[in-house]
Symmetry: D4
């Protein structure tokens, strides 16, 4: 599991892209006193190495009518069904995260829904997947932190 | 809670940006048979309305040495301390998500760490926050799904 | 989900009916300085809009020999059976409330029974419904509050 | 705990009032082939004996903007605080039911709120009462049954 | 459920028998200043009424090699099997008490065994009964109180 | 922990006394073809050795108005308080059994009460003992087995 | 269960071997002022009596790439499968300890694995054993004590 | 965390020592067709590298009067006390293993005791450590597997 070696320039490029993925490479170049071509090459290299896997928009789900967040613990009849059930869960757009976990749950999901009634429908969709034994739901009353940028900055400072 | 009205053009612009936040506005314009200026105006309007809150890089945490993910349930001595504890938690870069939840936990967090020993340190940092009574940890054995794009596409198709 | 608009007069009428559903419309009219016909029209309108769904007697269950109250959490074999099981539960007069819930139970009921032995019979009736996997019972030692009037008055003051 | 003796006529009067508390006594009298005065006397007698404690409107909470229902289990620091805490809970109009219970909770409440954010506020109000140690919340996804009339009819048939 | 009426003399007779079931009736008679025949008649009457159901020796189980006590909670596949399973449990002499209970267990038993290994065998005997789904065991580290005499004396003082 | 040696005659004497503690020694003697004096000596010897600790009446608690049975798990603030709390519990006649246990409870009790309201009072008495942190109650719906005679006969057959 | 009698010399020999199983018998002999032959005879005798069952190397698992330790609670479908499941578990070298336990688990195991991903594989191997109903995992963040020598020395001092 | 490199000869030496730590180096040398000096050098090198940390006797605890095994989960008041509490636990010879763990316990221990009464004493010693909030005990009914040799052989085959 040999880690790709990033140098100081790579860190500074990532540091700028993390805050705004749409910042033009010429702006990055100007700030770091390097050529735009170098920025381009470096980013390409980090994409090829799989360190940068893509970029995503941060939307306001409340404004889009999806203000209900819940965590759902899934018990399976048998762990041999894990892969199959995850494929079915993956077909539900309302599940944004799913983990295989230690502890009492086999799979642990995060869902977003429009409201209580819609959340009930989503939970029932998961419950109805073949191999799912039972589910337990914990509802979010407030999403207080959802921010990976602090961690990214920390990692690049630390490296 | 009147929702901002997005029309078909807005949806198609968002649909393209979701897949790649760095796609040039001229490419979007060409594909949708509108002017690049229109794309710019529309995106600006959605940013002003707070629907687009920003963009973020999707990095490969394993390659960056942060392969350990855990969910931590936090019990407080008293819920009047919730705001104070969340501020302290917000100072830890390893906590990427935190919710106020129903059920047995007061606060529910997601952390990323380098390995088991580092996770122990992060858990102890949370445990040591004043007002935190106890924590319970559930460890991820595999992050099988982490993808908000499916939901975003679904929402824009549905609207 | 557009809400029916109630005006100040409606609120005052409801405020009086909440305390005593049998108060004559002429008394309400006199108090509010409007005609009895107006009261009649307003109440009719609120019934048609579904805001007033009916009225119920408040009886003293202890004096009627039904002093035993319990909450029963029901686990189903599969949530696809929820509707079927609720129909069976609905045939038991001793179940006065039933909810589909988050958390560990699929269905959560409130029952009233004559005594411990009778409660056992009611619990067994629920346990014997096809699709019910297990039940868990929590017994009330004292019903300290059972009063929706405070909430109703609050709502009409707030609107 | 000698029970008040109700005869067949009393049962039939109650049976009619249960379905509609506003039914005129003259209608009851006509149906049961007795005088309206007798109905009046009987009802008065049952009120004096405390069997009829009052009447209440059945409103549609969803239409009034209160569609969120939750059950909240309350742990106290010490049961000697039970009476004090119940008095504080009784000041919150959003709590419609509260029981002293066996099992892990000291007090078990039912609340109605406008939405998730409001429910969080109500839960925090309860959490902040002196003597309350912790609370656990179970959210209703659907109120499937809320009907005491079936039980009342059953009791009068049975007596 | 009309209770048999015991008078002061009955109470005093029971009070003496509770402390020593083998005390001669002539001793009781002398103490209470009544005839031995009266004692005999009274005791006979209480036996016929089913108040006195018998008597039992209090042995020292430790000295008999049975020092291991455990409580076992039994989950059934279905409560319709309760009667059948209790009959099977009743065939195991090591189970001295069994209750149908509220809460998470269907049946709750107390067992006495020779030691850890023997307790394992008894638990497995219960586990192997058809209809038993699972068991949970809680082991006694010390039997600190086992005394019904205080309650009996209390009842007779109170009556 | 050398065990007292009982011979075949002792076993047969105990076997008869277990079924009826009041059986006259002359009856036992006749049945076992030994002298009444021998029975007397043997019983005395077993009492002196502490094997027979006494005898108790088996009363019908339901007929005496004590039909409510519950098991109460007690959590202490600190196990150093165990002895003190057990002494306080021992002052409550309604507690007939108490154990120091493994698992989540520190002390586990069995109580008998008149009814739900009385049980609440007893539970509160235990809750109010200094050093008691919390209690959890499990209610008996039916006492199906309460019989140590089967075990005693088994032991004497086995020895 | 008569215990083999060890004398003072035996204790001293064991005390030396516990600290270093490879210490030459001549060294032990010199230290205890006895002949090497005596040491040999004594050790042989304790091996024959089964008191010494063997010896094992203490390796550093972290240096060997096995730094991940977890405890796994196993629920069986039925305890009659205990023996069969233990035989299957015994085929997995990663399980170093397994117990039949009281409480909620039927079998409780300790495993060592290379990392989180490997631990997932081991857990799935156990989950896939026929008769295993579910497993629950608790992960070690640090092995703070793993030392039987203190107990052995204590035992020999105490004997 | 660079791993020490072991070659095929090292593995074969360890494989022989694992089965019997007292096997003479000359026997190992003969079997592997190398000189005894080479064995000595290799073992010394592995000891210096910390791979071999020592050796221990495998004794039969039952024969030594220590047949009672329990797992004890420890809750702390605060994790900042972890180090202090582990030092206190380390003074108890009856605790042979202790881990800092994820999940509901802060520390998880394995103890060996003479019997139930002794286990109670050991549990109370742990409970009485300053900073320990509560403990929960799970008792072993049978130690079915306790064998690290299979894992060691597996590791050396795999390397």
């Amino acid at each position: 599991m040999a880690k790709f070696k990033l140098d100081e320039i790579d860190h500074q490029i990532l540091d700028m892209l993390i805050d705004n993925t749409r910042v033009p490479f010429t702006d990055i170049a100007k700030k770091l006193l390097i050529s735009a071509g170098t920025v381009h090459v470096r980013v390409k290299k980090m994409e090829d190495a799989g360190i940068i896997k893509g970029s995503s928009l941060t939307l306001d789900y409340k404004k889009l009518g999806y203000s209900f967040i819940a965590y759902i613990g899934v018990y399976l009849n048998n762990t041999s069904q894990t892969k199959f059930v995850l494929e079915r869960i993956n077909e539900l757009p309302f599940v944004t995260v799913a983990h295989i976990t230690t502890g009492k749950f086999n799979i642990f999901c995060k869902i977003r829904a429009r409201n209580t009634a819609h959340a009930k429908d989503v939970i029932f969709m998961i419950d109805d997947i073949e191999g799912v034994y039972r589910t337990e739901t914990m509802i979010s009353l407030e999403e207080s932190i959802n921010d990976k940028k602090r961690l990214m900055h920390y990692i690049f400072k630390e490296l």
